[in-house]
């Protein structure tokens, strides 16, 4: 039994974080650093007639002002449709018109007020439908259409599927804008050296892609740009693309000849950071009387905003939930991504999966009710199984979906700890509403939902790889230099656990370097729950390589062959089969390291690992292919109490079971799942960025409600281990699954409690009451 892998070990970075020592982006102070502020557009769509910065330039303390005239020539961003500052046309209220660098933030802010901009408002569109209508104003005139991209996927034959169906269900879903709401607002510090090379202190999740993107945006070479990641105060997908504030900071720094920090306010974060894209989705699904699914037909319309970011790629994930997770013989999925004059959208934790799991899993529930089948039995009947190839081309290896569903179902009959409200019914309620005491206005119900998520990387870029180096010094101290980034999720610690296990040292003997593109090897970025699996495999390979080098020297020293050696407790031990040899023979790891360094013809101990999973990009036409080396599965059960007088929904209990392959650090795994539920519960009940006429109406935490300690239900986390063959020590990714099925489980529980189906999140008291009223009227 390992003393490191599989243990509930504290995060390596936790003590410094607990004491306030950790340096985040807003803590960075460089000599001579200026403060940058950005002037945003007053209109959602307008021609910019005049930008006059002359008064602002005269303000003492102002060191540089940028307008579109300072833009390099190339466009940037996922869709290559963005520029740092906007010149002739502004396309949304988040469009950057000018930027100021000044000696302090107050002067910068004052200078923004002195910049005069004349606009000629243009007709604007604020919904995907309106944007697609004939004669709608074009957001990017040169593109000739507001339709950015269409996704068309199918397998089987929908006609046959419909013909074979005994029941068919159909619904329209309306899904809102959601914010990452990382506790640390976006921040960047840009500094040039005398060579003209740029160092960017950044909260990005994609340092190496950002190097390339910035180079393109600034007209520089990637080799002239160094990205240093500060401690990152949460990211959740926010940092997956280049955004205008980053080249703006660099251009300000270049123009002023001094370092510049651009640090978003919270309201700016809501306006200018990417949001989860709103979607309208029409879904039809069918099943046979015996409980076998027959078909699914999904069409989605996504509002990607005025510029394209990775939000436009989320249909790839939506179609995965639609076409896999369960065995569905006939599937059609279509999605249209459309420009509007709304804020830009990106990907928020789950990357489209919370949206699709909401509509797929509530539709599963409708089918179960229509068929009068137990919702768990119905899911089990159709669930993906181990070693199954799905029609979409996913090669499922380990699969604990069945175990997850059974685990949460086993908790359904357990009483929740919370006090039972008077009059409400205890125990497991019926599957249909109306079984509870009619005298009470508090109704209880339970609901289930499953989830499928990539767990072995996700090839959405040519490489899905990560590099690692493991160095052992004269003191037996180990440095893991990994391409992958700590964004709070605990990857640093989990990767160190893997290395510690291979080298037979304790976690405290390992230092992880993971924040500087000049030091660390390449990695595609922190996304798609890929770090434990991909960076973990790379770290394991590097540690094994380093161990081989140490064993070579230790074997010479102890006059045995390397195959007789093991690394344990900081020592290299001679083994007799599985057991240490008798009499015991060993040397300290540090001694072997020194011997290798100091001998004639000495060598450095430096192990290298590169891991790129055996997957491929999906086919450009059919969207089929195995994008992940393995898949994670999960299920949740929510118990809710609905107040039929106020419409308020309280989640009393949430039970989560997740197939994680193997938990390298069970405490960290629980942390990922529990944290995911906070986002999932917010998606279900409270979180919506309200955008009207392109303006964000609730850009603060008073009006954009995150779940607090007081709102959280009783949480139970069950870890299912399936020992994934391809994973490091059997592990799969788990970063996104915690919140993915939550909204569906809550919606299904609401139905169980009061018999209404909500097709919009968040399921606010108003919406619940409205649904109850509609039900009463029928």
């Amino acid at each position: 039994m390992s003393t490191v892998v599989g243990q509930r070990l504290a995060k390596l970075d936790a003590p410094d974080k607990a004491t306030g020592r950790t340096v985040y982006g807003h803590d960075v102070r460089l000599p001579g650093m200026l403060h940058g502020r950005i002037l945003y557009s007053r209109h959602p769509h307008a021609r910019v007639l005049r930008v006059d910065v002359s008064r602002a330039l005269k303000l003492p303390g102002v060191k540089a002002i940028l307008t579109a005239a300072d833009n390099p020539s190339a466009k940037f961003g996922y869709g290559k449709d963005n520029t740092p500052l906007k010149g002739e046309v502004v396309r949304s209220r988040r469009d950057e018109v000018a930027a100021v660098a000044a000696i302090d933030a107050d002067i910068a802010e004052e200078a923004l007020g002195l910049i005069e901009v004349d606009y000629e408002p243009l007709p604007a569109v604020f919904s995907a439908q309106a944007s697609l209508q004939a004669g709608a104003p074009l957001i990017h005139e040169e593109q000739g259409s507001n339709l950015f991209k269409q996704y068309r996927y199918s397998h089987g034959d929908l006609e046959i599927g419909q013909r074979e169906s005994d029941v068919t269900v159909e619904a329209d879903f309306e899904l809102p804008y959601v914010a990452h709401a990382a506790m640390e607002p976006s921040v960047v510090v840009a500094a040039f050296d005398q060579r003209g090379h740029l160092t960017l202190y950044s909260t990005t999740q994609i340092p190496f892609l950002l190097q390339r993107d910035l180079a393109e945006a600034l007209g520089m070479e990637g080799s002239e740009i160094r990205v240093i990641q500060t401690a990152i105060g949460g990211a959740f997908g926010r940092g997956l693309d280049i955004y205008p504030f980053e080249p703006i900071a660099a251009l300000l720094a270049r123009k002023a000849g001094r370092p510049v920090r651009v640090s978003f306010s919270r309201s700016e974060e809501f306006l200018a950071a990417p949001l989860r894209q709103p979607a309208q989705v029409h879904v039809r699904a069918g099943a046979r009387r015996d409980g076998a699914l027959t078909f699914r037909d999904v069409s989605a319309l996504l509002d990607i905003g005025a510029y394209v970011s990775w939000g436009s790629v989320t249909p790839l994930v939506m179609m995965e939930t639609t076409a896999s997770l369960y065995r569905v013989p006939h599937v059609r999925f279509s999605a249209d991504c459309v420009y509007t004059n709304n804020p830009i959208t990106g990907a928020v934790r789950g990357y489209g999966n919370p949206q699709s799991t909401f509509f797929i899993e509530t539709m599963m529930d409708r089918l179960a009710v229509a068929l009068r089948l137990d919702p768990v039995e119905f899911r089990l009947r159709n669930a993906n199984r181990p070693n199954e190839d799905t029609p979409q081309g996913l090669k499922i290896t380990s699969c604990g979906l069945k175990e997850c569903l059974e685990a949460v179902a086993a908790r359904a009959d357990v009483e929740s700890e919370g006090t039972r409200a008077p009059g409400s019914q205890g125990g497991r309620p019926g599957l249909v509403a109306g079984l509870q005491a009619p005298s009470s206005h508090l109704k209880r119900g339970i609901g289930f939902a499953s989830t499928l998520n990539v767990g072995g990387g996700a090839r959405i870029y040519r490489s899905d790889g990560c590099g690692a180096t493991v160095k052992v010094d004269d003191f037996g101290h180990v440095s893991l230099i990994t391409g992958s980034t700590e964004i709070g999720q605990g990857s640093e610690t989990v990767l160190a656990q893997i290395v510690a296990d291979v080298l037979g040292v304790s976690l405290q003997d390992i230092n992880v370097l993971n924040s500087d593109t000049d030091i660390k090897p390449w990695d595609v970025g922190v996304h798609a729950s890929r770090t434990t699996f991909i960076a973990g495999n790379a770290a394991q390979l590097a540690a094994l390589d380093a161990r081989t080098q140490i064993f070579e020297t230790a074997a010479e020293m102890m006059r045995v062959t390397p195959d007789k050696l093991a690394a344990r407790n900081g020592h290299i031990v001679v083994m007799d089969g599985e057991l240490p040899a008798t009499p015991a023979r060993s040397i300290e790891l540090s001694k072997a390291a020194r011997a290798r360094h100091f001998r004639e013809g000495g060598q450095v101990i430096s192990g290298e690992g590169w891991y790129d999973p055996p997957t491929r990009l999906v086919d450009k036409e059919t969207y089929k292919g195995n994008i992940s080396a393995t898949y994670g599965f999960g299920a949740q059960m929510a118990e809710v109490e609905v107040d039929t007088e106020t419409g308020r929904v309280r989640v009393l209990r949430l039970v989560c079971a997740n197939d994680v392959g193997r938990a390298i650090n069970p405490m960290a795994v629980e942390g990922q799942i529990e944290g995911g539920t906070q986002m999932g519960l917010g998606y279900a009940l409270t979180e919506e960025v309200i955008v009207k006429d392109g303006r964000v109406l609730n850009p603060d935490f008073l009006d954009y409600r995150l779940f607090t300690t007081a709102d959280m239900p009783e949480l139970e986390t069950i870890i299912i281990e399936t020992d994934e063959l391809l994973g490091p020590f059997g592990a799969k990714g788990v970063g996104e699954m915690g919140g993915t099925p939550t909204a569906a489980a809550v919606a299904n529980a609401i139905y169980d409690a009061v018999g209404v189906r909500l097709t919009t999140v968040p399921m606010t008291p108003e919406r619940v009451l409205q649904a109850l009223d509609q039900k009463a009227a029928h």
Binding site: A14, K17, A18, M183, E184, A231, I487, D700
Partner: protein, 155 residues
């Protein structure tokens, strides 16, 4: 604008600073006094990441005008133990997995310290209510609540 001469006791030490009278306590702590443990998460008192104790009571430092704190005692995360060692609340947060990105942590620590000063052995309900003004986007709070409960039980 004429400067204001502010006198405070910060973490037990007398401090004097000349400030712009518009500055908040958070500005003064972070920029004038170089104490960056209190974090700026919203600047509107909603997230709690800048929680400090003012005369023993928890406040969000972003909502306090520094000049209004004249002569008062401020305790920040840097000052809760004499030599930078871990306070039982911090130890418990570290050991029980209550810290992920850590941005909310110093504020959470201060809110918990204030809570335990008031109620040395709080119930789970006390902790949930006591920390409800401190947002965390990473942990789902369960391990934070458990940590504070165990720190309380230890005392």
């Amino acid at each position: 604008m004429p400067k204001y001469h502010l006198t405070l006791t910060v973490n037990g030490e007398p401090r004097e600073v000349l400030i712009d009278p518009r500055r908040t306590l958070l500005d003064v702590l972070r920029n004038s006094l170089d104490l960056r443990g209190a974090h700026r998460g919203c600047d509107s008192g909603d997230c709690g990441a800048c929680t400090v104790l003012l005369n023993g009571r928890p406040i969000t430092a972003c909502m306090a005008l520094a000049a209004d704190c004249e002569g008062m005692a401020v305790l920040t995360v840097e000052g809760i133990t004499p030599n930078g060692s871990l306070h039982p609340v911090q130890r418990a947060l570290v050991d029980k997995g209550g810290i992920q990105c850590g941005f909310c942590t110093p504020g959470m620590v201060m809110a918990a310290v204030a809570l335990l000063n008031d109620r040395p052995c709080p119930t789970a309900e006390d902790v949930r209510e006591g920390l409800a003004g401190n947002l965390c986007r990473c942990t789902g709070y369960k391990k934070i609540v458990d940590a504070v409960l165990s720190a309380g039980a230890e005392r």
